[in-house]
Symmetry: C2
Subunit: 207 residues, 2 copies
Amino acid sequence: MSVDTESPVRLPHLDENGRAALFTEARTANAFTAEPVPDETLRAIWELAQWPPTAANTQPLRVTYVRSEQGKERLLPLMAEGNRPKVESAPAVALLAVDLDFHTHADRTFPIRPGFRESLDGQGREGREQMATFNATLQIGYFLLAARAHGLATGPMAGFDAEAVTAEFTPGGRYRTLLVVNLGHPAEDAWFDRLPRLETDEVLTFA
Amino acid sequence: MSVDTESPVRLPHLDENGRAALFTEARTANAFTAEPVPDETLRAIWELAQWPPTAANTQPLRVTYVRSEQGKERLLPLMAEGNRPKVESAPAVALLAVDLDFHTHADRTFPIRPGFRESLDGQGREGREQMATFNATLQIGYFLLAARAHGLATGPMAGFDAEAVTAEFTPGGRYRTLLVVNLGHPAEDAWFDRLPRLETDEVLTFA
């Protein structure tokens, strides 16, 4: 092999155990044991999830961890009825929201493009919404795998009153709740049967 | 510890090497060596990325891998000028698009909710767009980490003419391109300095 095609940097692969923990064996859990998830673990999930990329380092995801009785009582009536028993059984629930004013941090987070903050400021929340939501949603993908990396089962739920959850936990117009995720240790009957994935050739095209 | 708080299932953690490969040490690459990425690796990335969850198992992400000279020539003029040298150096480029007609697979992918496909069909592409884009974007998060799991550096790019890329590679109105991602082995000068992340307390709230 010539020097031209030899990579000067060899990146590591994820081993079989790691693939199983995050991808191939991990499953969405629908019931949890009473074993608590310490706040240090909830912080550590974020400290892992923060690293993968966002456009122009915008990092628009914000997380509210609900784990007190009072917090659960505020959240439960805003969830779809079918999701309430799952939320009740989860020792911690993450409310994942986008910060539409993410640009206020841009002088610090993206100093390499002067005028970036001012340009986003001029767009208003509506103008920033697509960029913010796209990048916050990427971060939700990272967050789910980071929670699994800490040995937790995740239970993402789209069935909730998003406007009501936002108004209750992050009011004022700056935030929009995108997803609610149960976190904890799976109960014995936590899993449904795995649903089928599309055939690879239904997803991939080569050009 | 009582039986009540003892979890019957202990999930694995991701070890330090795995965290480094996917999260803490991995970096966005801006230049690549000429070492090719075999089609089998490109398929294997998808076969890992397919597993984490989407709402109602919708799986709306579609991937076009561009790695031929002809494919690169069709793509290059549609990229922002600053991204062209990166695309030129990458041995493979993934065009990540959402399939707004994802529901056509629903009888097979989500058989547990009869009438789901019909209900989505009635909404039209515009009505399905938010659900489709949110879940495809989650899958892009999984995809980026799955590419890293295979020892590749990723270079996601938002700077391109999305309508033109869609029209060139996946025309007809069914697809929308969301992100273009370079894949390959990093050249020696592949990385910028790491940009700062927000403080954990700027992101997390506890309730």
